[in-house]
Amino acid sequence: MTLFDAFSGAASSLSGPLPDPSADAGWSAEHPKRVGFFTDTSVCIGCKACEVACKEWNLVPDDGTDASDLYRLTGMSYDNTGDLGASTWRHVAFIEDVRPHGTATTGHMPSGLPALGGSLPRDAASAPPDGGTVDLLALLPDTGAHGQQTPDDERDVRWLMSSDVCKHCTHAGCLDVCPTGALFRTEFGTVVVQDDICNGCGYCVPSCPYGVIDVRESDGGAHKCTLCYDRLGEGLEPACAKACPTNSIQFGDLDELQAAADARLAELHGRGVEEARLYGRDPDDGVGGDGAFFLLLDEPEVYGLPPDPIVTTRDLPEMWRNAALTALGLGAAAVAAFFTGGRR
């Protein structure tokens, strides 16, 4: 493969299904199989062992910039981590989903169901990122002509939990835009930052369609989940997957995880859990499928995930073309400025 081939997209290097991203990144044919995570949120109990195990292994510092920020409630249910970032490589989201009675049988949930089907969409709460207070009450449904609230005991609640992580995309925006080669595709098909290389340019940060990677203030480097690259070489599973008490986080060869996920989805659908869906499983999606994918019980955006992410570099050839043409135009205009209309 030549540089030209690669860049022109002929080899699916920028978007679309790519069976072997490691080979695409120059690893020899004997490289290990692509590995990943399947996070089955239908069995997640929100214990956050993944967050702690990750930090213990990777020596990730406490999150937050100073003590006053560090030990503060967010008010977002039991989520006090907020989101993935430079110092949070696993993040457990908590969604308290409320629906009026009668959208399901009272308190009865079919076996295997973590929650009821058929929901009234809503935001769990509106917490501004700037940390102001949240008016949860304002989000409660109103019924009746006189603004009478639905009696509390006539609403059902389900509590969704999901451990988010870097998706280790088949087409990883962060990796592609990295100007130093600090971010690279490993022989396992994962995407890893090399801290000895990263110069903190920050380009990877806005290039991730999932908002995963971030620059850590204390050391200036970009950080995110490495899928425990150092452990993989030794045949160990990543710290989060190892700790996960209910096996919500499953680690393994990606093809096997995909098969397991498909089976689990079919099982849940068979049990009437209609809202179960896989996220990041599809190699035809905008990032060529994720190395870390999920079984969700609601729309992705409810968990803070983009519903239809596309790797930004998919459009890069067109962008380069536009920029090159414009550059020519600019040059031409500057040249033309010397001739148009003659000299006065």
Partner: protein, 337 residues
């Protein structure tokens, strides 16, 4: 949003899912769900003013280098001198800001480990490095009077690379997940290129004599006009993603930019021949160009912080894809606007 009729939802369910700034929303409220209204993608951690200034200086330097080379060729010594110095100053200043923007500036040279066509910043580094070398060498010959012939050659070399320096930054921005930037990837190169023309032309107006400044004025006027036009089109095409240009600091910056560009262009048109008005017009044009960069930068930050910018267009994309699957038409899978 396929499982509920929004009309049946109580008013409060239809929140933007966002804490502040509701009062300035000028686009119709779109229903969407989010995780506590938090941003989905991460806003750039690029420093302000480093990066907008780098963009501005890169544009100024790029167009100045062409003006300088052409001025050399057509015998406009003051414009040549202004262009050469502008190109060098822009390149050096831009490099300083670029390095300063790094969170680990000592590792700037790590940029030279690789050449990655997928990374606009890598490509930009490989544009900036030779350009800065050529432009600085040219400016040195200009100032010292030594090696003039070499300076002419490096001046041409800089002019060849210059326009690329002026426009690659558009790719730098649009090749991100920031919706307002990414979806403007057809507009931003033109916006940045024309903005560069306005800046370089403006610089020429300020520093060249009235005898030599006509090409600079023309370039600046053309740049300003194009910039104003493409900005208009960009905001129209962006649809709801343009709301970030209609509120907050980006709105102020873009409005100021427009004012400066219009004033500068008009000034250049009618006042080019007077030294003071030419200089004033040039300054206005440069200011307009710079303000555009600041405005676009701020708009991108606001866009990244708004989950609606991610969810609503992507939902719409999914909807259209599903609709097209049903009707067997080509999915308009990229744009929603």
């Amino acid at each position: 949003m396929t499982d509920a009729n929004p009309a049946e939802m109580p008013e409060r369910f239809r929140g933007r899912g966002r804490g502040g700034n509701r009062e300035e929303l000028q686009v119709p409220e779109a229903e969407f769900r989010s995780y506590y209204g938090r941003p989905i993608i991460k806003a750039p951690v690029w420093k302000n003013p480093d990066v907008p200034l780098y963009l501005f200086l890169g544009g100024l330097a790029g167009s100045s280098s062409v003006l300088a080379a052409m001025a050399r060729a057509t015998g406009r010594p003051t414009l040549r001198r202004a262009g050469r110095l502008g190109a060098a100053a822009g390149a050096v200043g831009g490099t300083v800001f670029l390095v300063h923007d790094l969170h680990r500036p000592r590792r700037f040279l790590h940029m030279l480990r690789v050449f990655k066509p997928t990374s606009p910043l890598s490509v930009g580094t490989w544009i900036l490095s030779p350009f800065a070398t050529f432009a600085a060498a040219t400016a040195a010959t200009e100032v010292t009077g030594w090696f003039r012939r070499t300076g002419d050659v490096t001046g041409v070399a800089a002019a060849v690379v210059g326009p690329a320096l002026a426009t690659y930054t558009a790719v730098l921005f649009s090749n991100t997940a920031v919706p307002t930037w990414h979806e403007a990837h057809r507009h931003l190169p033109i916006l940045f290129g024309s903005s560069a023309a306005a800046a370089g032309g403006g610089f020429g107006l300020v520093f060249s004599s009235v005898r030599d400044n006509e090409p600079a004025a023309r370039l600046a006027i053309a740049g300003a006009a194009t910039e104003l036009a493409i900005d208009e089109k960009m905001q129209r095409d962006l649809g709801m993603l343009a709301d970030v240009y209609c509120k907050g600091r980006a709105k102020t910056l873009m409005r100021a930019s427009k004012t400066c560009l219009v004033a500068g262009a008009l000034g250049a048109l009618v006042g080019r021949r007077r030294r003071w008005s030419a200089a004033l017009s040039g300054l206005a044009l440069m200011a307009g160009s710079a303000l555009t960069r600041f405005g676009v930068f701020d708009a991108g930050i606001a866009s990244a912080n708004d989950p609606a910018h991610i969810v609503v267009p992507q939902r719409e994309r999914i909807r259209q894809r599903q609709a097209s699957t049903e009707t067997a038409t080509t999915p308009p899978d990229r744009t929603f606007a």
